[in-house]
Structures are given as structure tokens and as C-alpha cells.
Subunit: 345 residues, 2 copies
């Protein structure tokens, strides 16, 4: 007994409405050639009229479609990367339902030649899309462009490849992130005079540069009482960090704020307490077990973060949409710059 639950019109209904055969409907829907423009219009009008929407389940079934997506991530990593990999694993299970096979691949992304070689070996038969988190180099840019030509979809993941042919970027606006950090530091400093120590693992990366630009812009414009010091590069080396801190604090005893621009905050936050002469306003990036704990203990004042689970799912959804020639839902894929206090963890 079929109840009245209104059924959606099928291709058959559409054929009747448009006054053509199913074969023609098929030709129009799948963009095959040999259909008079007039007929195409007729069909499209009928689609509008009865509100026909293809049954995606049936389409995917008939097409035997499946997706192989790969996240290419650095092989050496901080806690933030571990968090990301965890979310990829989670997504792997969640998206199995939708015929998507998702996996993380760790690569020496800082070696442009190895990375380009890896990309060059990919083909659209076995990989439908990749999300790549790697510094931008000419070699990698070219490899990405060639991938796109071969029909492999690419999204730039967290780290942008501004000149690459891929239009899709999943991550935050780093300029705005830096500005946000600056605004917080400014407000938290409460009009007091002081200097800001800005720390990054490296200033080579585009991300750090942009964050720094956004940061300085706001401090200079809105907080003249604060003075920003040149960026300090830790290179991920704690000893080096300590040495630099000692030096910097010797020259600038009036440092009142710390801004850690790169993802790994453990080194700087661990060392800073040994040198700071007074309580500092401290802001770091990315939510990790460490930054979360530090926030709770009051060792840092705020975290600027991007939702890593969202990042991963967003990349997958975009890759899927592109593979299906669909437009990703912009409002869903925009990654927000989150401000975390201990109250809203």
C-alpha cells in the first residue's frame, strides 16, 4: 500500500512533461551531443516546471562512482598535524558511506623535487582528488597544474598555493587571523605601554608573512602604545629559542605581549616564562592538546584557531563537488577564524 508521501518526479515523468523520450532526457541531462537546441530548452523548461531533481543515489549507483581522496601532509609534525590526522581518520569512516576513500599521506613536503615527483606519479584513474598542505615552490606549482590538466582535483589545504591553477583553498585568511590576534592583544593590554614579541617557526612561509602583515596593520593603526618587535624565528629548535629570548629580553625588558604565529607553541610558551620580567599577554595559534591545557591553566590568554575537523570535511566536500561538476556550498566551506578562551573551549 503506497501512501500519499508525494513522490519526486523521475526522469520518466520528465520525459512525459517535456514530450520527448527517455533517451532524449538522458542526452540532455548528461550533456550528450546530437540534440537540437530547441529540444534542450524544452527539456530544461520542463525541469523547471515540475521541479525535477536527479536522484543522486541512482546516479551514483548507475555510474559506479567512487572517490579516492588523499591528504598530502608534512611527514614531520607538530601536535596540530596529529590533530589533523586524527580528523582525517574520523572522516575516513564517515565518508565511507558516500563511496569516498580518504587517507592521509605523510611526505617530505619541504623537498620540492620529491613532492613534485610524487604528484607527477598520480593519475585520475586511481586518485580523484588531493588536498595538499605544502610550501609553494615553482616545482610544486607546476606539478599541481599538470595534475589539474590530468583531471585530478586539487585543493590547497591550510597553506595556500596562490599562483596554482586550483581555485579552491581550504583554510583561514591569514591576514585577518593576524589582525584578530592583534586586536585581542591590543584590547587585553588595556592601553598600557609595552612591546610585543612576535615569534614564528620560520618567516619563509607565506602564512607567517601574511599574519605578520595583518598583525602590524592593526597594532600600528589602533594601538600606538604598543610597539612590535621584529619577528623571531625558532626553526623549531628549543635551545635556539631560549638563546634568542634571553637576548631579546636583555635588549627589551619592557616586553609585555607575546604572539606566536606558527602552529607549534610548545617551545616558545615553555621557554618564555624563564625570561619574562612580568606577566605577558600571550596569544598563540591552533587548538592542540597543549594549547588547550595552557589556556585552561591561564598560561596563555587566547588561541586563534581554525576548526580542524571542519577543515578536513570541507576539503573532502569540495573535492567531491568538483568531481561531480557541482559548485561547493560557499557558506559551508568558509573556514572561520575562531577565538578560543578558556570559557568557550
Amino acid at each position: 500500500m503506497e501512501f500519499l508521501r508525494q513522490m519526486r518526479p523521475t526522469a520518466k515523468d520528465l520525459a512525459v512533461e517535456a514530450g520527448v523520450s527517455l533517451a532524449t532526457i538522458d542526452r540532455v541531462l548528461n550533456g550528450r551531443s546530437g540534440v537540437k537546441p530547441r529540444t534542450v530548452i524544452k527539456v530544461n523548461e520542463a525541469i523547471e516546471r515540475i521541479g525535477f531533481v536527479r536522484n543522486l543515489a541512482a546516479v551514483n549507483l548507475a555510474r559506479k562512482k567512487s572517490y579516492q581522496f588523499r591528504f598530502l601532509l608534512p611527514d614531520h609534525g607538530d601536535q596540530f598535524l596529529d590533530v589533523l590526522v586524527g580528523h582525517i581518520e574520523e572522516a575516513r569512516k564517515a565518508f565511507a558511506d558516500e563511496m569516498a576513500d580518504v587517507a592521509a599521506i605523510r611526505l617530505p613536503v619541504e623537498d620540492p623535487y620529491k613532492l613534485a615527483a610524487y604528484l607527477g606519479a598520480l593519475d585520475a584513474e586511481t586518485t580523484q582528488g588531493i588536498a595538499i598542505m605544502a610550501p609553494e615552490t615553482p616545482q610544486v606549482r607546476d606539478a599541481i597544474n599538470r595534475l589539474l590538466e590530468r583531471g585530478v582535483e586539487v585543493v590547497q589545504f591550510i597553506a595556500g598555493q596562490p599562483k596554482a591553477g586550483s581555485n579552491d583553498f581550504v583554510g583561514i585568511n591569514n591576514h585577518a587571523a593576524g589582525a584578530t590576534a592583534a586586536q585581542l592583544i591590543g584590547r587585553f593590554s588595556a592601553g598600557q605601554k609595552g612591546k610585543i614579541l612576535v615569534v614564528s617557526e620560520t618567516m619563509q612561509a607565506h602564512d607567517s608573512i601574511e599574519r605578520r602583515l595583518g598583525f602590524d596593520e592593526v597594532i600600528n593603526r589602533e594601538y600606538p602604545a604598543l610597539q612590535t618587535l621584529p619577528s623571531v624565528e625558532t626553526r623549531g629548535d628549543t635551545l635556539r629559542t631560549a638563546r634568542i629570548f634571553e637576548n631579546v629580553f636583555a635588549n627589551h625588558p619592557d616586553i609585555s605581549c607575546l604572539y606566536v604565529m606558527s602552529a607549534e607553541a610548545r617551545g616558545p610558551i615553555g621557554e618564555i616564562s624563564r625570561f619574562a620580567t612580568r606577566p605577558l599577554v600571550k596569544i598563540v595559534h591552533e587548538r592542540t592538546p597543549f594549547t588547550e591545557a595552557a589556556l585552561r591553566k591561564g598560561e596563555i590568554d587566547a588561541v586563534i584557531a581554525q576548526n580542524s575537523g571542519h577543515l578536513v570535511r570541507s576539503a573532502i566536500r569540495i573535492l567531491k563537488a568538483r568531481n561531480d561538476q557541482r559548485i561547493p556550498l560557499a557558506s559551508q566551506e568558509k573556514i572561520r577564524i575562531e577565538i578560543l578562551l578558556k570559557e568557550n573551549l
Copy 2:
């Protein structure tokens, strides 16, 4: 020519692996009766062994499944509601692909009898799930419980129905949201003494009460220099608001902060400037065209928000999952308490 793109095992493969027939596989997968426990185990082991995952597209196709979901929202509304309705319309298109029909229904939710009557008329044949945003009353609670018994899934949307049988709630933790607002006000106040004016449309709603509790907790514990005044209720009436403000500022000229707890901030923010004797730290809730503009113009200092697009999609995903007897992905459905400054809009 079929390439090597590894195919996922099908039910047929599973039957071979488990050494049973397709009919038995079907019985086990769909929980039909008349299968020896021993056989069920055999099949489940085989599922583990070959990593069998049902092809959702095929399942849905064979089951002719479709979903009718309804958002039940107040019929009189502020800007925040308009934003929500916009997102529901967006989701309506996005989820049409997945056989889900989504729509917003505006109701006099403050009338428990009308609302309960509406809920009572729903049945699982025509409505598979609802997301309800309504104040909690005994009538509504009962109606919801009866809906659940009839097989209609229910999620509590933004406003909680703490005692209802539905376990799913889509929205933020209001206690934490209030605490977050307090922390911001405290930090932005920079140790200066002052009083905080707390405004709400009504203190009847659970949400406002919880926000207030979280707010006071943080202020009292961490910011002794600040003093919170009793909540002021606007009842959505601008004239009333102005009258109250005049009165309050007469008695407390040393008010230094404003916290608007309810979604509609236009009234209080519009009126406050006529009475404030000095620049205030102002924090409001929810992102709307108004709060966005006010943030940009510097008329308010921060917005505590929940991502309304996420709210809508999350509710839909949860309703879908429950309909399919699946567990929603917790990490994806957790709604974050967002802090918006003009820099991270």
C-alpha cells in the same frame, strides 16, 4: 575496459566470504528474524574481515527513502530568525540531492496549546523529523514525547527542551556563552572599576537564565572590580527600554559595560548611546546584519555567536542519521561559541 580501481566488496562478495547465501546476508544486514545466532556471528566476522560497507546509494534507492524535515520557528521574529530562515532555504536546495525535503514553518510557539496541537497532528508518514525552537512548557514536552513514540525524530533547536525525551540538542551551551561574554568584558575593561548593565528581552527563557548564571560566575570570580546589575527586561519594546535605561543610568552613572543577552540587540544598542555617560564595553549575541555593521562601526566590541548555517545543517544531519539508525558524528555536530571581532567577521 574496467580499470583496476579496486571495487568495494558487495553483498555478493560478503555471501561468498561468509559461506552463506545472499538471502541470509540480507537477513543479517537488515536485522530480520529467523537467523541462528551462530550464523549472525559468521556474517559479522566476514564483514570485519573484508571490510564490507553497504553502498548507501543502493540502499536508499532500493528503499525509496526520502525525508521530510521541518523547522518549527517562532512566527514573530528578529533579524536572527531571518538569518536562520535564509539558511534553511539554502539547505533546502543543498539537501534536495539527498532526498531530503527541508522547510521552515513559522508558528506561534509562545502559545503552548496551538503548538502542541500542531505537533499532535504530525505523523511519521508525512514528516520524518522536526527541529523545534520553542519555549519549554509541559504541553509541548508531552507533544514531543508523543511524536517520538510515533516515530518522528525530534531535535531541540537552539532553545533547549531539557526534560523532553529527545537526546539531541543543536545549539550552544548557554552557560559557557555567558561565561565567555563575561571573560571578554572583564579583559576589555582592563581592571577599571565599573558596573555592568545586563539586558535581555525576557528572563523567562531558560537560555537567558543560563547565560546570566555563567556570566555572573566569571565576573564574580575573576573581576571583582566589576559589579553586575540585575537583569533588565526589554520585552522587545524600545520605548520601555529607553525608560528603563534612563532610570538605571540615573541610579548608576558609573555603568561601564553593556551585555545584551538576547538575540535582538538593535533596541538596546540604539538607545544606550542616549544615556551612557562614557564609552562602554558592549557585547551582544548573534550575528545579524545589524550586529555585523555595528561591529564594523565600532558601536559594539564583540559578538558572541553561533554559526547559523551550521546550526541548520547540523539539525538536518542529525535528523537524517536518527532516521537511518545511525549515530551522528559528534565532533561535527558540536556547535561552537564563536567570538566575533571586526577583524574576524
